[in-house]
């Protein structure tokens, strides 16, 4: 133990003597660890953001889209097939027990105008349940009601961005908004939700009763999709299955044919969305890990130079009684110290870089503790692994040869 302590002292002293070199050697490890930490932090931050946004879609949400991803070998788009009807939505509401909210949905986009201002935005036709399903309260005014839907009223709830564009500095409640030249009355302004994971402004939207949208704007009878809210997370799978059975029956689909609709749960949407970001994160972390190994090779290189350079010193130490093990320990500790200090600085740099990215670029980051531990272990292992060969080489030197070395 005392000899280990002595070896530690010698190693530290040797590193201090060559501060510049020690720092440059460490730089490889610092960059490697910092890169790992930063990419993982970014990935983790993005993942957390996506999860938050998936959650903002509402709780226990099941989406039923018209059309199927593959139908008879031909791919068709989401919501394009025109196979879902209002009656389907009503049947789901009526016949499936665990359903607490249903919103038939149609979508279009177009010019909206108020006074002299105009704006291009997305128009959603929804039921009154939509606001509770998506947990999206109004900041001003009231949401439209079941009555508005049944009466096909020309009322609109507008997003914060639309409100800003059309009614800057005014109270939009009670004002007229012309949607594709059809006049609607603004009854509410939605609370701001910000951007979603694809960078879209979720507040750039106008929500009107689906009946009004279908009759007054689109003139169509089919739905794009149906948003269904289940009573609890434990019945989502069951509800999903029941919806599928109900719709197959209603659409008279024989068992040998594919669905003409798609039922997706929020879980699946979340998985699909995070999958891509996780793949990206793992790829980047892999690249960063390679740089960690490169840093380790840097350490090995410098340690080999150091062993050659200090051959005489090794000879002297052996002559006065250092065993091979003592010499090996000295160089191993030097390598591990280099990589450990490098690792610690790398963590600081990585966390700092993540924080800076959040601060200056607004990118969400989160540094998982597990990954910090992993990088600490990695850098220590790199030190031992790449320090071992030079250290062993030093310990096997012949004292006579080493003393004679110029």
């Amino acid at each position: 133990m005392r000899r280990v302590l002595a070896a530690f002292k010698i190693a530290l002293r040797a590193l201090f003597r060559n501060k510049t070199r020690a720092f440059l050697t460490m730089l490889g490890i610092i960059c490697g660890v910092a890169a790992v930490i930063t990419t993982v932090s970014l990935g983790q931050g993005a993942k957390a953001q996506i999860e938050a946004q998936i959650a903002s879609l509402g709780q226990n949400v099941i989406q039923v889209g018209s059309g199927s991803v593959t139908r008879g070998g031909i791919h068709t788009g989401w919501g394009s097939a025109g196979t879902l009807t209002i009656e389907d939505a009503e049947a789901i509401q009526r016949e499936i027990p665990g359903v607490v909210g249903v919103s038939p949905e149609v979508r279009t986009s177009g010019q909206v105008a108020a006074g002299n201002a105009n704006w291009f935005t997305q128009v959603l036709g929804e039921s009154a349940d939509y606001f509770s399903i998506r947990q999206w309260p109004v900041a001003l005014g009231e949401p439209f009601t079941e009555q508005d839907v049944r009466s096909v009223n020309k009322v609109a709830v507008i997003g914060a961005t639309v409100a800003d564009q059309l009614y800057p500095g005014e109270d939009p409640i009670g004002k007229v908004i012309r949607i594709r030249n059809a006049p609607f009355i603004v009854v509410g302004v939605l609370a701001s939700k910000g951007f979603n994971m694809f960078g879209q402004d979720q507040d750039d939207v106008v929500v009107i009763p689906y009946t009004s949208a279908m009759k007054r704007l689109l003139g169509q009878t089919s739905l794009r999709s149906i948003i269904v809210q289940a009573a609890g997370p434990e019945i989502i799978a069951l509800t999903q299955q029941q919806i599928t059975e109900l719709l197959r029956q209603r659409h008279r689909i024989t068992p040998d044919r594919d669905d003409d609709f798609t039922v997706r749960t929020q879980q699946e949407i979340a998985e699909r969305a995070t999958e891509a970001s996780e793949t990206m994160r793992n790829l980047l972390a892999g690249v960063a890990a390679v740089s960690l190994i490169v840093g380790g090779i840097g350490i090995m290189n410098i340690m080999l130079v150091s062993v050659t350079e200090r051959t005489r010193e090794i000879g002297i130490r052996m002559a006065v009684g250092a065993r091979g093990r003592d010499v090996m320990l000295q160089f191993l500790i030097e390598a591990v110290t280099l990589s450990a200090i490098g690792g610690a600085l790398g963590i600081l740099a990585g966390v700092g870089a993540s924080k800076w990215l959040t601060y200056s670029q607004g990118w969400p980051t989160a540094t998982p503790l597990g990954w910090i531990l992993i990088s600490v272990c990695c850098s220590a292992v790199v030190g031992i692994l790449f320090g071992f060969y030079p250290a062993r080489k030093a310990s096997q030197l012949d004292p006579i040869e080493a003393l004679r070395y110029e």
């Binding site: 005392r2 000899r3 002595a6 010698i10 002293r13 003597r17 005489r312 010193e313 000879g315 002297i316 130490r317 052996m318 002559a319 006065v320 009684g321 250092a322 065993r323 091979g324 093990r325 003592d326 004292p399 006579i400 003393l403």
Partner: protein, 255 residues
């Protein structure tokens, strides 16, 4: 008689294998050196004296023969055991001083204690090293680095380092080889003082006048001892230095 021998070599052989050629560096040396002796091993280069020195110093092992150092048979020890023997029983002084650069004289003197099994606190190590430096008259320069010291002073640091573990034997390999004649005599003076205190010294040299400061000369040729004599007209370093000083004064006084 047996217990009094610090070194006892019995028919030592050393054969090097360099490529396909076998070099027979030492061919059957038997030698006994007792406690308190001051021996110079002499010979031309290639005579095998350095090889013998390496064997005596436990840096190398003989191919054949038996070597008892301070009563321990070291001919069969492995690398680690030899390292321990070097640490505990032998102090080395080299021709090129071999101090660690950018390390103070004191730290250099402390070096062998880093590798001892004895438990010494940092303060005790420091005290031991300082005492050794005092012994060679260099206590005032304890915190100087080797490049701030003259050749003679560096060699004194090396001697202090050799003494710090109280070895049974002080081995010097051409200790005056890199020094001018006056400094050489000063260093021999240090050795003589240490020898007077009872320390056994063996040195290798090819300088005849340096050998005259020792008590016994062993002369080697072609791997064998050809002569082993006690020094009759032994030079005293102090007297020689005094004489040198007077001569120099005379030269300066002369017009």
């Amino acid at each position: 008689m047996e217990t009094n021998a610090v070194i006892r070599l019995e028919d030592i052989h050393k054969v090097y294998q360099t490529g396909e050629v076998e070099v027979h560096a030492v061919r059957g040396v038997s030698l006994e050196i007792r406690r308190g002796e001051f021996v110079a091993i002499m010979g031309a280069s290639g005579s095998g004296k350095s090889t013998l020195m390496n064997i005596i110093g436990c840096l190398d092992r003989s191919t054949r023969g038996r070597y008892l150092l301070d009563g321990t048979d070291v001919s069969e020890l492995d690398r680690d055991e030899l390292a321990d023997i070097r640490n505990q029983k032998i102090g080395f002084v080299f021709q090129g001083f071999n101090l660690l650069s950018r390390t103070t004289a004191l730290e250099n003197a402390e070096l062998p204690m880093l590798y001892t099994h004895r438990r010494l606190s940092g303060r005790e190590q420091r005290e031991h090293a300082l005492k050794a430096l005092e012994l060679v008259g260099l206590a005032k320069r304890a915190h100087h680095h080797p490049n701030q010291l003259s050749g003679g002073q560096q060699q004194r640091v090396a001697i202090a380092r050799a003494l710090v573990n109280d070895p049974a034997l002080l081995l010097a390999d051409e200790p005056t080889g890199n020094l001018d004649s006056q400094t050489s005599i000063e260093i021999m003076g240090v050795f003589q003082r240490l020898n007077d205190q009872g320390i056994t010294i063996v040195m290798v040299t090819h300088e005849l006048d340096i050998a005259h400061y020792t008590k016994r000369n062993v002369i080697m040729r072609d791997g064998r001892i050809v002569q082993d004599v006690q020094v009759e007209k032994r030079l005293k370093a102090d007297e020689e230095l005094e004489r040198l000083r007077r001569e120099q004064q005379a030269v300066q006084l002369a017009p």
